[in-house]
């Protein structure tokens, strides 16, 4: 039966949510500009500062957009827009400390750093004429200490880390209990508080050599406790990225497992491994607490890692603020100088890591 039903027009038309009110496309930009202007005006009345301006603008923007959108569009769309705004604000909020930190360190430290600061050791200079003790500011002992301690830590942890990673990826069966335990423990070890690593090294060495066991080497041990899990984890990730096809092709040619690893897997992954190691070094070079525990601090130049306290840049920054010398301003200055040097060092390591990743990247399509 095919009776034609004449479509009845609904007496009062239902609002079609698909075509009903929509805000213009650029509305978010307009609202943002409006919010910025409004908050600027409001703040000019009570005193202007940039942080307050931005925060107020963000709040006004979110509220205005929410209200506008829930009137013109639906409530669901309003929520969507507000959440989009919130998420963006969260991101900008995270950038603020990064920029602010870098700016502070550079602006405070730049005045301190010069050739003398880098090449002198700090000391108290007694002037016999005026009978005044002036502090000579220098970071040479800290730079040397940092490089030695981090270098030894890297020497200890890189072989152990890479070998563990090779074991995990190439030799261990994924279901094997040993492999799973090692992976789990490595993961957990990444979470060891750095200060605990320092205490560990200190107690280890005070058992071996008795109390006052401060030495650069024990700081290196502390750092390698922190560094090994990082190296293992990044090497593991890198080795897993090597395609299985390459290994299978090598095995199919009758190559032994060992040769496959040294000739095929490692060369393919070397860029990633070097990058990972560099970043791991950059990570531990800034550790303060463990070095502070294990190597203590000193103003004297000491290049023997097995004897006596050793100064490092992060510790210098810390002690400069917390235990200032005679001349408090000079101590604080040297703290900022050390901090800036440290940041520069970290940036250099990060850059090297990136460059290495570019240069050593395996040729040809993978």
């Amino acid at each position: 039966m095919s009776a034609t039903i004449t479509p009845q027009k609904p007496s009062n038309p239902i609002a079609n949510t698909l075509t009903s009110g929509q805000l213009p496309r650029r509305i978010e930009l307009y609202v943002l500009l409006g919010a910025l202007a409004l908050s600027a005006v409001l703040l000019l009345l009570i005193g202007f500062n940039i942080a307050g301006w931005l925060v107020l603008a963000a709040v006004i923007y979110l509220i205005a957009l929410g209200i506008l959108s829930s009137f013109v569009e639906t409530r669901r769309k309003a929520t969507d827009r507000v959440v989009r705004g919130l998420v963006t604000v969260a991101f900008l909020l995270a950038l603020a400390p990064l920029i602010s930190t870098l700016y502070t360190v550079v602006s405070k430290g730049i005045g301190v750093i010069n050739w003398n600061f880098i090449t002198q050791t700090s000391a108290s200079v007694f002037d016999p004429d005026t009978l005044e003790v002036t502090t000579q500011v220098g970071a040479w002992q800290a730079i040397v200490g940092t490089l030695i301690i981090t270098g030894i830590a890297a020497l200890i942890s890189i072989p152990i880390g890479i070998l563990t990673a090779i074991y995990l990826v190439e030799y261990a069966q994924p279901k094997q209990w040993l492999a799973r335990t090692v992976t789990f423990l490595v993961d957990v070890m990444t979470g060891i508080p750095s200060i605990v690593a320092g205490l560990f090294a200190f107690s280890l060495f005070s058992i071996i050599v008795g109390p006052k066991a401060f030495s650069g080497f024990s700081a290196s041990v502390a750092l390698s406790v922190l560094m090994i899990p990082i190296v293992v984890r990044s090497c593991e990730e890198m080795l897993r990225l090597v395609p299985m096809d390459l290994r299978e092709a090598s095995f199919a040619l009758g190559v032994s497992r060992f040769s496959t690893i040294t000739k095929i897997v490692l060369p393919t992954a070397i860029a990633g491994i070097v990058t990972g190691v560099m970043l791991a070094i950059a990570r531990v070079i800034g550790e303060t607490a463990p070095i502070f525990m294990a190597a203590s601090f000193t103003d004297n130049f000491n290049s023997n890692p097995f004897d006596g306290p050793m100064q490092t840049l992060p510790v210098m920054a810390y002690t400069g603020y917390k235990f200032p010398g005679q001349d408090i301003a000079a101590s604080n200055d040297s703290a900022w100088g050390a901090a800036l040097l440290l940041v520069i060092l970290v940036v250099i390591l990060n850059l090297i890591a990136r460059v290495v990743a570019k240069v050593f990247a395996p040729k040809g399509s993978r």
């Binding site: 508080p193 750095s194 990058t275």
Partner: protein, 346 residues
Amino acid sequence: MVILAGVALFLIIQAVPAIVADWPSNGDLNEGPTAGFANFWSYVGPLIWGTLFASAIALVIGAPIAIGIALFISHYAPRRLAGALGYLVDLLAAVPSIVFGLWGIIVIRPFLLPLSEWLNTYLGWIPLFGGTVSTTGSTILAGGVVLAVMILPIITSISREIFLQTPRLHEEAALALGATKWEMIKLAVFPYGRSGVISATLLGLGRALGETMAIALIISPAILVSVRMLTEGENSQTIAANIALNFPIATTLQREALIGTGLLLFVISLAVNMLARVIAGRAGASANRKRKAMLAQLPPSDPSTVLAVDDVLAKRHEADDARAEEASVEQTESEIDEEKRKGTDA
């Protein structure tokens, strides 16, 4: 593994004399930082409270922001920018903690002063904000804010990876049903990533617990249990900062007491970390197999590892793109060839 056992073993060996010592009658423990405590536990109790309190502040401030950033990078930011933005946030992790400490002293402390006063004036009846407001800003709130900045990159990078792993089909199904972007995220992304995000937050907590320098530099502490966030000299001290402050001036037995507190810190953060891993692992096991394969292991939690992996993967993606382009060029060429052939046939 050996190292982990070794760490525990040596800490225990060193800590035992102080833990079992008779505190009130022991001359060595009766002066300096450990003076006036009945026994080891009454010394370490307030410290544990302080550690947890500071970390909790950091987490309350940091975790929502970190998850917001992760969402922004994974779902809101333009594709091309997302990688670079993620890298920026990871850079936060590359800044040494001591630098954050110094930054906290001269930027965050004065920055929070007006806020502290406002909170104290209008919300002072809440114990959190009560007491006399600090004039220098060396409060546990300032410490917490700096800690929050420091744990941002960890939570962000892990959550980001997990959000990116959300099955594309789930997201598209939600969008096809008419969900807005936020509803899609609520329906598809959050349920999928919940366990991962919880683990990430716990890992962030673990980091905050062990963070030393920022707290040691910023807070002006006392060893007591206090919930006040804005006062000075009445803040609860944290374990790590307490060790850092008192270690150089401590005598041998006091040092051993400090090592004992360090041992407890070690146990706490180990527990938190294991819990994080177990949550991630269990969620993976209880779900279907496909998901298990994806979430059985958390993405690397250390930012430097993340940076390294990002570097290599980015290059691989570039290579993939290049190859895809080549392929498409070849394809169009072959199509053109075919068309020509057709033309000649005709």
